[in-house]
């Protein structure tokens, strides 16, 4: 019961946040200098005053701001994000074409970063003078300081251009023949470099935090209790200590979803990954307002869903969050 009502509250708050995102973005678009009708006309190859007027009526641009806003929100509630005048497609369709690619990238990178980060952190906390520990310290610094697009380009130069191990760009190779397995392997081959690039920042972040919390947890009374029970080192580390070290890492991971999406935009650009980031850059340059709004909406949705999942994971890991 407790869980259900908390989740319900969370979902309601998430919906309010999303609505706020919509309103803010829409207002921002309208505050911006420049005439949308002009942009639309340009994408159609220029127009005279009469056509501009026509465009304004078609797109409802002649109406007062508030009614435009409520129109837009109403349409979004019906899963209609408008029509892209740059791509000549409904925005929803456009986004659903690109969203899976971004999700694959974001989710794989986040999971990989969590797993590797935690393993590195645990290992280096146990062997504080070992080379892995020093590696984690250095990697944490480097991973944080290197611009992600630069890391990506360097990896691209090294492992696709100089040593052609991985494809240079894209997500699938249309010339690959064969069944689902061959297609899947091809996807994996394309994923390696972008995922490593994106994950590297977060591996750095998580391993450093996990190392610090693990070192703290290993000093606690309940670890002493676990030792006094005669448990094996493996049980003490991977059962008693790890579960306690996870919640700060998961909390941090939850706060990073927005950063992961941001990183994905850059990584997609470097590796020509056909996702929302690439679409976002194109539509921003083309000033394709409906598409931009749609992407902002969906990326906020990704972050919010990510936060919700984090909360659930936290409740799973730490009973204290569940309340009394």
């Amino acid at each position: 019961m407790n869980l259900i009502s908390t989740v319900a509250q969370r979902v309601l708050w998430a919906a309010i946040l999303l609505l706020a995102v919509l309103v803010l973005n829409f207002s921002m678009m309208h505050l911006a200098p420049g005439d949308v009708a002009d942009t639309i006309a340009q994408s159609m190859g220029g127009a005279d005053a009469e056509v501009l007027e026509q465009i304004r009526t078609d797109y409802g641009l002649d109406q007062p701001f508030l009614s435009q806003l409520s129109n837009y929100v109403g349409k979004v509630l019906h899963f209609d994000l408008g029509y892209s005048y740059f791509y000549n497609q409904p925005v929803t369709k456009l986004i659903f074409e690109k969203l899976p690619a971004t999700l694959i990238l974001v989710i794989t990178a986040q999971l990989l970063a969590l797993i590797i980060g935690v393993l590195l952190g645990v290992y280096s906390a146990r062997n504080q003078e070992g080379w892995v520990s020093h590696f984690v310290t250095l990697f944490a610094l480097f991973g944080y300081s290197a611009p992600v697009f630069w890391t990506g380009i360097l990896l691209l130069i090294a492992f696709s251009l100089k040593i052609p191990l991985f494809p240079v760009a894209g997500m699938v190779d249309v010339t690959v023949e064969g069944g689902a397995i061959a297609k899947f392997l091809d996807l994996l081959r394309h994923m390696v470099l972008p995922v490593i690039t994106l994950a590297s920042i977060f591996i750095a972040l998580y391993s450093r935090l996990c190392r610090a919390t693990m070192m703290e947890v290993l000093q606690t009374d309940y670890i002493r209790t676990a030792k006094s029970k005669g448990l094996s080192t493996r049980e003490i580390i991977y059962k008693h200590a790890l579960k306690n070290s996870l919640s700060p890492v998961i909390t941090l991971a939850g706060l990073q979803f927005s950063a992961v999406v941001s990183g994905a935009v850059l990584v997609e650009t470097v590796f020509s990954w056909p996702g929302l980031g690439t679409l976002a850059l194109q539509s921003i340059i083309a000033r394709d307002t409906p598409t931009i709004l749609g992407i902002l909406f969906f990326s906020a949705l990704v972050v919010i869903v990510g936060n919700l999942l984090t909360d659930l994971a936290l409740r799973f890991v730490d009973p204290r969050v569940r309340g009394h």
Binding site: L17, A20, V21, N25, M28, M29, A32, P33, G34, L141, F142, Y144, S145, A146, P147, V148, F149, W150, I153, L154, L156, I157, L161, L255, S258, A259, V261, S262, G263, V265, L266, T269, V270, G277, A280, L281, I284, I285, R287, I292, I295, L296, S299, A300, V302, V303, I304, N307
Partner: protein, 315 residues
């Protein structure tokens, strides 16, 4: 059943385990010798003890001087086509080579230093200003003010930072002030959270209660009593913010969302990206510049953390 806790020996350690007391005794003995020093001197000492941070600070000063003096000394215009495109580093006196338009990479990096540092610093200042104001009010006033401000913070944390500032820059024009605002507008929530938790912690401390009891006004309590004590973690965060603002600016200009009339590190990488097969150095060197600057800033941040965090100081 009575216990010795009530007796008048009151060594104050009755609650400690023996182990802790043993360890404390060892530490106390050593601390006696350093007690008399001024706190600022103490902090400086701690900072200098962190050798990496000291070296990083030295290089950071060097980078700042380069940003100011570099373009005055090395007069090549970064937009001029000075030699054949793709001249490798060292050729014809161009230390870092030329790019796809035959522009001098070294000149670009020197001019870019200014932009990166300027945007990094001003965006960090803006971030700290917004974050501290919001966090301080939330932590000080509690109640509905806190609720509302923290909801606002949460809202801004949901916005995908880079996408949002890309849109701002695209809509309002790619000028340095707009870029700075775009970065500041999305980066402040972290600072707000830290400030709020510090305020929440400090406002319950006795000297704050004492000051309140002696009739201090809210403004005095906030800015003269609580804020100075909340500053250490904020300063550390601010140092890290400069680094992340530089990374942020680099990302934006890599994507082409930057003033086309100003050279910046990210922009050199972005514009040379199509030619990495022929001239990888055109992206390597500007990237190194970003990497090295941000690395120095994070090391200095670490050093500040050592110097200003009293909890760590005791370790």
């Amino acid at each position: 059943m009575n216990d010795l806790k009530n007796d008048s020996r009151s060594d104050g350690l009755a609650q400690n385990t023996d182990t802790q007391a043993d360890l404390n005794a060892g530490i106390n003995a050593e601390q006696l010798t350093t007690k008399a020093r001024h706190p600022a001197a103490d902090a400086l000492g701690m900072f200098l003890k962190n050798r990496a941070a000291t070296v990083a600070l030295f290089f950071l000063v060097l980078i700042i001087i380069t940003g100011i003096v570099g373009p005055m000394v090395y007069k090549t215009d970064p937009f001029d086509m000075v030699w054949a495109p793709f001249s490798p580093p060292g050729a014809e006196g161009f230390l870092l080579g030329t790019d796809y338009l035959g522009r001098d990479i070294l000149a670009g990096i020197l001019y870019g230093t200014r932009v990166s540092l300027l945007v990094g610093l001003s965006a960090a200042l803006m971030t700290v200003f917004i974050g501290v104001s919001i966090g301080a009010m939330a932590g000080f006033f509690r109640g509905w003010v806190e609720e509302a401000l923290m909801r606002l913070t949460e809202f801004f944390q949901v916005l995908p930072t880079l996408l949002f500032s890309m849109v701002i820059v695209a809509l309002f024009g790619p000028t340095l002030p707009i870029i700075t605002i775009a970065i500041g507008a999305v980066s402040w929530p972290a600072v707000a959270r830290i400030t709020r938790s510090e305020f929440l912690r400090i406002r319950e401390l006795e000297y704050v209660t004492a000051s309140r009891a002696s009739g201090s006004k809210n403004a005095k309590l906030m800015f003269k009593v609580i804020l100075p004590n909340a500053l250490p973690p904020i300063i550390v965060q601010a140092a890290l913010m400069v680094g992340s603002a530089i990374l942020f600016e680099a990302g934006l200009s890599f994507l082409g969302l930057t003033d086309p009339n100003i050279v910046s590190w990210g922009q050199i990488i972005g514009s040379n990206r199509p030619y990495i097969l022929d001239a990888s150095y055109t992206v390597t060197f500007p990237g190194l510049a970003i990497f090295f600057t941000v690395l120095c800033l994070s090391l200095v941040g670490d050093g500040l953390n050592d110097a200003l965090n009293p909890k760590l100081r005791q370790r």
